[in-house]
């Protein structure tokens, strides 16, 4: 499904701020794979995501999605097949437009001059009611009035309205309060399961990293240091994971949020 072949990215090359974010990174995701990704700050997790969704072009290497070379495809064209959710719940929706208009934009596959039909609005309503947040009765409210959790749930719905080939989740519940985070995570799980999505999810919660999906990837210093499949990680505890990280990299995992969670 997804192949990353030796991709590298260096920020600010040739300056004093030069930072090798990812180096010769390769990854293969089989269709239906759901991998959780953990790693310290600056390990290159988000850089890898941004490289996949096209926020910048990689310095070297190639990216293939479903057999198609997308290495040089602009971000907006990749968005047809890749759904992205970020930590910031404000990033995925337009605050000045209504829920209905936001959904119309992200779901719209019609012509440029087409308008939202009544049947589409009914479909939006049905999908919104699945979120269980009462948003289906607030279709004409501007999105800016929603809470962070509601906006993130809406963004999730928008990103998966037409099931993408690949879903990238970059700590998408980290900025939400625990109860809402739980709810959004549950929604994510059911959407991924129902649509058999291939999914990559960055998390700082080690136990949910082991629990969710069928694969856990650990990154450090721009490399993948550990890639556990379903059998390998079966029965592992958080402490095992920390020990394996130390053995793999030769240093401690220094991410406060990981250690505290």
């Amino acid at each position: 499904m997804l192949y990353l072949n030796n991709i590298s990215k260096t920020f600010n090359p040739g300056t004093i701020n030069q930072k090798v974010a990812i180096e010769n990174l390769s990854l293969h995701m089989a269709p239906g794979d759901f991998a959780t990704i953990i790693g310290a700050n600056g390990a290159g997790k988000s850089t890898m995501f941004n490289a996949i969704c096209g926020s910048f072009l990689t310095d070297s290497g190639s990216i293939l999605l479903d057999g198609k070379d997308i290495t040089f495809l602009p971000a907006y064209k990749r968005a047809k097949e890749i759904g992205c959710l970020f930590q910031d719940p404000m990033r995925g929706s337009a605050p000045g437009m209504t829920i209905e208009e936001n959904l119309a934009l992200s779901s719209g596959r019609g012509g440029w001059l087409s308008r939202v039909s009544r049947s589409e609005i009914q479909a939006f309503r049905d999908r919104l009611s699945l979120l269980g947040m009462g948003l289906e009765d607030r279709m004409n409210h501007p999105v800016g009035l929603l809470s962070g959790g509601q906006r993130q749930a809406l963004t999730l719905l928008m990103a998966t309205y037409h099931p993408p080939k690949l879903l990238l989740l970059d700590e998408h519940t980290a900025a939400l309060d625990p109860g809402t985070a739980e709810k959004v995570l549950e929604l994510t799980k059911s959407i991924v399961r129902e649509n058999h999505l291939t999914c990559l999810m960055i998390t700082h919660n080690m136990s949910s990293a082991l629990e969710l999906g069928n694969r856990t990837i650990m990154m450090d210093n721009g490399h993948i240091v550990l890639d556990l499949n379903e059998q390998q990680r079966c029965g592992l505890t958080v402490n095992d994971l920390i020990r394996m990280f130390r053995e793999g990299t030769g240093h401690m995992l220094d991410n406060d949020r990981i250690l505290l969670s």
């Binding site: 602009p74 907006y76 968005a79 759904g83 995925g92 337009a94 000045g96 992200s106 719209g108 928008m158």
Partner: protein, 311 residues
Amino acid sequence: MNLLTMLGLGQTALELGLLCSLTTLALFLSYSMLNVCDLSTDGCFTLGAAVGAVVAIAGHPWLSIPAAMAAGVCSGMITAILQTKMGVDSLLSGIIVNTGLYSINIAVMGGSSLLNMNKTETVFTKLKALLSGTVLAAQYKLIVALLAVAAIVVFLVLFLRTRLGLSIRATGNNPDMVRSSSINPQMTTIVGLCVSNSFTALSGCLLAQSQKSVSIDIGTGMVTIALASLLIGGTVIRRGGIAKRALSVVLGSFLFRMVYTIALRFNMPAFMLKLVSSVIVVIAISAPYLKKQWPVIQRRFTHNSAQGGQR
């Protein structure tokens, strides 16, 4: 001042307000929707006026309207391409195009900075001839302006509800979201500026034809005047759907002209118009900011004076 003169003044304000509201509608699209401050507005207004005048003088009064609008589209396209494809800052690209248009406008007018349309057949004289003998004969200017504004408002309201229109609105609101909806925000910026500049050019074309002359500085300060109208309209009608907001823009243009006309009546010299519009823009933009800052200023003041007392 008797009732008749007042009505006369009101009508002049209404005509001018309606004609200029087309430029305000253009800014409504570029400034409020796309979040681009299009500083090529002045030049584009003059371009529309010049192209419209030249085509009308050549004997094609009806053709002058699409010609002026097409010229506006070209100007908007250049402004948009500079800022989306060539890395020029969006404010700067407007200024650059505005400067370049000065030469182009004089070239369009055949090297002169003034064109006279006293004996030219224009859209206005056509309608005047059509209406002669009816009750509406004296209102021909108003009718042209009303028709143009109604057409543009209806078009804009319908347009902003289409998928393209929605994506233009989202571009000014959250370009990230536009990209993740598989839409190229550069494309929506280009389309938006082309459409908005065609309105500006239409505005210039009609104003010049109603005044029966075009000079090179007919558009000077239009961007500020239109911005002032836009902000006045926004204060009068604060919220609502697109249709309501578009109408508030037209209302704002009329109110601005009304205030200006009344001020003229009280012997304010005509050259003050531009200062007045600048002041209105400054007040409208900075008032909400200062209102927010006011408690802090107050607190600092009492804090300082309390400390001064202790010392």
